[in-house]
Amino acid sequence: MDLDISGARVLFELPVDLPFLGRLQISETIVVSWLVMLLIFLLCIFLTRNLRVENISKRQALAEMLVDTGKNFVVGLMGEKFAYMIPFVSALFVTSVISNLISLVGLRSPTADLSTEAAWAIVVFVMITKQKLKANGVGGYLKGFTEPIFVLTPFNVLSEFSTPVSMACRHFGNILSGVVINGLIYGALAGASAALFRLIPGAVGAVLSKIPFLDVGIPAITSVYFDWFSGIMQAFIFCMLTVMYISTAAETD
């Protein structure tokens, strides 16, 4: 029984090879991301069909509830002036949740690829820096690194960059650990199943031991935590941190 946990498979390569960026590889991550985007798009279309002002359907009530939740989350934590962030934070959350949960149908989660979280963290880092520059000016922003004393400057710079790194690694680590643990559980249960049914003598045991009976049931329970809970929790934490960091950055020192 060999367990193979690898990175994203490269589905096809485009004949583009730039210095630093490397060859343009379309990996599983990117393709599944497109699928996630398509799902989100279809969900939006589905939720906003036949909108009415009065006597609304359950579907519309759900859509309105989602919109309200997004609004309250962003406006409640960041204030009215960040209302333009609502679609971005919603996109971050819903992409993350669907990416985490898409592993349930057997696809590889785009969030099980550090590049995805790194991309999001870079965007958030740029937004944080933009808010800091806006609030304090370029001089104030650079001066902020030398506080409270000049000696701490390297550590301040380090802490500044550790924000996106920690955000990306936290999310990636949680999802990857889910993938690894689920892989281990599946593998272990298949092995146990094979060992158990090999006890039956003759051809019957040989055939039955090939079928991982124990893989039915138990992984569903563990996936409640490793896929559902962890997936939704990490998406929430990532959005929460994004919102908190950006609104803190907008405050003048």
């Binding site: 690898s6 498979r9 991301s33 002002v53 679609p87």
Partner: protein, 167 residues
Amino acid sequence: MQVQELVGLVPWTIIAQILNLFITAFLIKKFLYKPINEVLEKRKAMADAEIQDAVKAKDEAVAMKAEYEQNMQDARAKANEILTTAQKTAALQTEEMLQQANKEAAAIKVKAEADIALEKRKAVNEIKDEIGSMAMEIAGKVIEREISEEDHEKLINEFIANVGETS
């Protein structure tokens, strides 16, 4: 099939994922938030309009009530006025009638008195004549002699005149 590193950064994937994130944000904004917000705005506008209508209706009702109360007050005042006028008129008329009655009564009294006096005089005159003729007859019978009638009459008249004056 080629496999990327399990933990590694792929620049192209990062770029693609950044673009994907913004495209998703745009899609959500355009296809979820915009239509839902429009509906919410519409509903809010409708609710506001209804509240405004209600406020207007209430104002109208208050105005109507005030007008009604004013009218009631006016009507009451008018009724009072009419009543007072009627009472005054009645009192006036009563007095007038009383006065007229008094006047009439007085006039009747005066006329009655005059009539009585006239009747009295008439009666007196009749009695005078009667007494005169009676006296003459009596006298004639008593005396049994014929005196001139003219003398007699003269005498009696004098006598009656004296009587009438004293009565």
